[in-house]
């Protein structure tokens, strides 16, 4: 029964991902006093792309065609580590957050290769800038997760969630605040959101992720877009489960799961509003200021780790 709920969690993260992107876009439009596209638009877009044909540059090799599939597969595999409705996940095991980070890195690696395979300067530029950002974002990502893991004395995400469930929300520890700050900054960098990257633009001056996928079309582009949405959804779900999991079902019952789902949607909405606010208020950082941004994230996450020795566990 637990496994069935875990599969349900994974499906929720995968299938609900385009809706998350749609809602964030709608909130941003509301802030900008526009009507904006419907929240179901990303689904229509993915469906439309699946019906179109795949355009392949003549210089491309199998890596170009293969990269979106690997990106999608790693995103799907990554959601198997995130608990949503109950404190357990399909592949939850000791040391699983290293798997999570490196699976996302695998997807990014192949996407960069696919970008270079297009043989254009856009792909090279996007891949080169993305290489810089993902390099600098890995350390704070892992350090933030390590800090939280040390505090809870568990090395697996479900274990951390169970430990947090037993604590009081008012017992805020400095470690958790610092880890949340650095992880939030990393989420912005890894998913290509403002202020690191603009997900809605296709100008070469401002694009990093969009530059890498410029050559893709049809089903490949659909897979890439879906994979980015899944990544965003999974990371938001990860933040919720690590820092605010109260409400997760501790016993497997229909009412418990339904309540957990409603609470999760409420927390997710709060995070989405926050994300949309940040994206609308903050200007995009100049490319060479992003290392400063991620440097602050690294320093804060390193502080979080150091603080685990100061705060009584």
């Amino acid at each position: 029964m637990t496994t069935a709920i875990n599969v349900l969690q994974a499906l929720l993260l995968i299938l609900g991902a385009p809706l998350v992107t749609g809602i964030v876009g709608k909130i941003k439009a509301a802030i900008q006093r526009r009507q904006g596209a419907s929240i179901w638009r990303p689904y229509a877009e993915i469906a439309k792309l699946f019906r179109k044909e795949d355009l392949v540059p003549p210089s491309a090799s199998w890596v170009f065609r293969f990269a979106p599939k690997v990106l999608f597969a790693t995103a799907v595999c990554a959601v198997a580590f995130v608990p949503v409705l109950q404190p357990s996940a399909l592949l939850g095991s000791r040391g699983d957050f290293f798997f999570l980070v490196y699976l996302l890195a695998l997807g990014r690696f192949f996407l960069s290769l696919g970008a270079l395979d297009g043989g254009s300067a856009f792909g090279g530029m996007g891949a080169s800038r993305d290489a810089l950002i993902s390099t600098l974002a890995e350390a704070p990502f892992l350090l933030g997760l390590v800090a939280v893991s040390i505090m809870s004395a568990h090395a697996d995400i479900p274990g951390i969630v169970m430990w947090t469930l037993q604590r009081n929300v008012f017992d805020i520890s400095a470690v958790h605040i610092l880890a949340f700050t650095s992880l939030a900054m990393v989420v912005l960098a890894e998913t290509g959101r403002m202020p690191v990257d603009n997900p809605t633009t296709h100008l070469e001056l401002t694009m990093i992720h969009e530059g890498m996928v410029l050559e893709y079309s049809g089903p490949s582009l659909a897979l890439v877009e879906w994979a980015s949405a899944i990544k965003l959804h999974a990371m938001l779900a990860l933040l919720i489960s690590l820092f605010g999991p109260w409400g997760m079902a501790s016993t497997v019952s229909v009412w418990g799961i339904a309540a957990a789902l409603l609470l999760y949607l409420a927390k997710l909405t709060a995070l989405m509003i926050l994300l949309a606010l940040v994206e609308s208020v903050v200007a995009k950082l100049r490319m060479y200021l992003v290392p400063d941004f991620l440097g602050v994230a690294s320093a804060v996450s390193a502080l979080a780790v150091i603080f685990t020795t100061l705060v009584k566990r």
Binding site: F170, D171, I172, S173, A174, I177, T181, D292, F293, G295, V296, S298, A299, V300, A302, L303, I306, L310
Partner: protein, 220 residues
């Protein structure tokens, strides 16, 4: 009434965390107005701390002191700063001499140092360690701001943060100083700020800039 007691107890236990956050944010802030806002936030947290202590220790003087801090440090001084920035018409940049990453690391080292220092005499004096470490960290941050920011306005702000730290330290160790001393300190600060404000205008009029690193005639 029980809820208020619980809330104050929780707050007293965890407010140092928020002070550390303001310390970190202050060292990476790039604009003067952001730093002033953070200072105001810091003073607000300290005001809340004063009130919470008043509730817990049932001291009437604490409410007076809290009101004074609220009036002067949360409202009046930041307002004066904003007015000053407007009238000086100088660039709003903080002109830091360290990059944000370096600043955060230095801030981290300062916080660690303050914890280490407090831990070493925490055995003799019965004080909450977190809060005292926060106070020492504020003192160090104020000094760091004065040293690493080249704008004259930031020197003033650094001094104010320093004074925040001293005030907090005194508050924790003595559970509220006698009222007279508090008021005396406030007046000292006010007069000092007034003088600094006047001098800032004089500096700007004489040198046409407010970059402290260029003022090098203090030699024999």
């Amino acid at each position: 009434m029980g809820l208020v007691a619980i809330a104050t107890a929780k707050f007293l236990g965890s407010f140092s965390v928020f002070l550390f956050l303001t310390v970190l944010l202050m060292v990476v802030a790039r604009r003067i107005s952001t730093s002033v806002l953070l200072f105001s936030l810091q003073s607000a947290i300290i005001t809340a701390e004063v009130f919470a202590m008043g509730v817990r220790e049932k001291l009437a003087a604490a409410y007076v002191v809290g009101a004074l801090v609220l009036l002067i440090k949360v409202i009046a001084i930041p307002y004066a700063f904003f007015r000053l920035v407007d009238r000086l018409k100088s660039p709003r940049d903080v002109k830091a001499s360290t990059t944000p990453t370096q600043s955060v690391f230095i801030a981290g080292a300062m916080i660690y140092l303050s914890y280490a220092a407090v831990h070493s005499f925490g055995q003799t004096v019965h004080v909450p360690e977190d809060a005292l470490a926060a106070a020492v960290a504020l003192i160090l941050t104020g000094s760091f701001l004065m040293v690493s920011r080249k704008k004259a306005l930031m020197q003033m702000l650094g001094l104010l943060v320093l004074e925040n730290g001293i005030f907090l330290a005194a508050l924790i160790t003595t559970f509220g100083m006698p009222l007279v001393i508090e008021i005396g300190i406030f007046f000292d600060i006010l007069v000092g700020l007034l003088l600094m404000g006047i001098f800032t205008f004089r500096i700007r009029d004489t040198f046409d800039h407010l970059d402290v690193s260029k003022l090098r005639r203090l030699r024999g």
